[in-house]
Amino acid sequence: MPIEAPLLEVRNLKRFFPIRRGLLRRVVGQLRAVDDISFHINRGETLSLVGESGCGKTTTARCILRALKPTAGEVLFQTAAGDVIDTAALPKGALQPFRHQMQMIFQDPFSSLNPRMTVFDIIAEPLLANGVKSRDQRRQRVEELLELVRLRPEFMQRFPHAFSGGQRQRIGIARALALNPSLIVADEPVSALDVSVQAQILNLMLDLQDELGLTYLFVAHDLSVVKHISDRVAVMYVGKIVEIAETDRLFKAPKHPYTEALLSAVPKPDPRLRSERIVLAGEVADPAQPPTGCYFHPRCAHAIDRCRSETPKLEEIQPGHVVACHRAREITLKGVDAQSNGKPSA
């Protein structure tokens, strides 16, 4: 583990959305989209944020980029100059010089590229916005970037509609890389792509990380995709992080019952593994009216009285493995294991 400070450290981040009702639009409650989460990402690594829809993973990503102002908490980002800034606290104007160091890759390559702009204009726009005035310089940089994402530079005068979904996603990646960012936030970057193209984009992201020393925050719901790209994984449930561990550990030996259920629910691409899945009863809790105690207790097979009354805190049960579960030390959960050819391992 590197001793240097992490590139990004999120401390007690909260983002609530007011729920308004009635004629006077009075605030009648708070939707706790992100509810006191903390994690860090080291330089050069990939942390994945996984969870089901509404768990707050996208809100977290948007708070980090300050596309949304957090309700509370700190987002500490180490800038290229080595200073640490709190992007949650800085006024918007003061943030401007650092914005180019964190960039985003979007989910849908069809709606995230302007159909009226050529590929050159799309990729050169961030350059222009950041003061690269010479058109030749911009052209040269766009050529470099297209080669970096394995597209032919001759294509730069074409419009997005001439490209397939996978190629468009490459254009989106080239745009994100234009200003040499250190942190890339990728929100479901492959979930809108065909399966045969997903692998190409995942491989490209792995290559670019090695070549450019990028740090990824990878937001996804697909655990198979997450397994391929991540160094560490954080699992979210109803606005809270329930478990963080190194990828291999999390998949082989999950410590939170929700992680176990998520892993078990993934359809395994082998008909010989049709096994007894853990099928969770009920539905994801409502973040506007979360249950008492541990938010997962109404669906948890291991819940005891304490889980109904007391909210569990994230606790480090092994170096680098943190879990928010009262019973993490006493219960044995099943993970998935490559060595046993997918048969659940204890």
Partner: protein, 344 residues
């Protein structure tokens, strides 16, 4: 063709699609969405149709139900459906798409579950109204009786407090519950075949597990046939008995699920299985990829549609001649010149 899949003592298939061609005649040219697809559905079994976007899996299903919209139409092929056990099969492809016979079959004997449960319901009517309407359309029952049956159906698909939920509007339900209601509506007339088009794609993984379990459980109880259409190999592995792999409007391979996953014969099936991200992979390993991307339907390659991306491409053969779906083992069919010579 498809008959070769069966053993001698199996009952005949309930649905046989033979060389089906459904084309869309647009201003820019003809899109051959389904171009000579053949497959069979056995009674009480699940067929999984798998393929990427543009492979024709959804249009195949729409062709069976005769809900292909203009400018699309079925231009060739047969869709033989065994309505009653003793009768001659009906060719759905020849029926009038607005006629009485297909309207009795559609939603009655063959039902459909859509991908997006939010857009496939009318937002103006309660879920109860919509199911009652379906029941009364296909069966001669009174309103009170239809309502009671609706409550029973909602209970069967695991909706809590169905007596109250029946009067709710679609927007009041979560995605998972809406998909259960969709399934209840599809089951309301005891269909012989349930077509599920990406039934869990819009759902979260734990909800997906619930819905797949529900479908399996209902099939065990009712012995209906299921056609499940998906791009997710995991869902196919969990659900299907027989698998049809499609690429650009063609069936490239078909066979029992175990053979498809463990002895795939067509280079596309093999490449697809290798390239899917797996939960069993070692972290941070690269995946083998399929080169290129799916061609635009207007630029369909000549010969075998997969040849520009194929690792086994044989120049002069694959780019000139069209391979046929032929037996490649005791139970599998594949459409590839690795297994047969071009007919010249």
């Amino acid at each position: 063709m498809a008959n070769r899949l069966m053993n001698g003592n199996e009952p005949p298939p309930i649905l046989t699609v033979d060389k089906l061609k459904t084309y869309f005649f647009t201003d820019e040219g003809t899109v051959k969405a389904v171009d000579g697809a053949s497959f069979a559905v056995r009674p009480g079994k699940t067929v999984g149709i798998v393929g990427e976007s543009g492979c024709g899996k959804s249009v195949s299903a729409m062709s069976i139900l005769r809900i292909v919209d203009d400018p699309g139409r079925i231009v060739a092929g047969e869709i033989l459906f065994q309505r009653a056990d003793d009768a001659e099969p009906v060719d759905l492809a020849k029926l009038d798409a607005e006629g009485n016979e297909i309207r009795a079959i559609r939603g009655g004997e063959i039902a459909l579950v859509f991908q997006e449960p939010m857009t496939s319901f009318s937002p103006h009517y309660t879920i109860g109204n919509q199911i009652v309407e379906t029941i009364q359309l296909h069966q001669d029952v009174g309103k009170a009786e239809a309502r009671n049956r609706t409550i029973e159906l909602l209970r069967m698909v695991g909706i809590p407090r169905p007596e109250r939920r029946i009067d709710e509007y679609p927007f009041e339900l979560s995605g998972g519950l809406r998909q259960r209601v969709m399934i209840a509506m599809a089951l309301s007339c005891n269909p012989k075949i349930l077509i599920a088009d990406e039934p869990t794609t819009a759902l979260d993984v734990t909800t997906q597990a619930q819905i797949l379990d529900l479908l399996r459980e209902i099939q065990e109880r009712t012995q209906m046939s299921v056609i499940i259409i998906t791009h997710d190999m995991g869902v196919i592995a969990e659900m299907a008995d027989d698998v049809i792999v499609m690429y650009l409007g063609r069936v490239v391979e078909s066979g029992p699920v175990d053979e498809i996953f463990h002895q795939p014969k067509h280079p596309y099936t093999q490449a697809l299985l290798r390239s899917i991200p797996s939960i069993f992979a070692e972290p941070r390993t690269k995946l083998p990829t399929i080169a290129g991307s799916i061609p635009h339907p207007h630029n369909r390659p000549a010969g075998c549609p997969f040849h520009p991306r194929c690792a086994e491409f044989m120049p002069g053969k694959c780019d000139r001649h069209e391979p046929q779906l032929r037996p490649v083992s005791a139970s599998q069919l594949a459409s590839c010149f690795l297994y047969h010579e071009p007919d010249i």
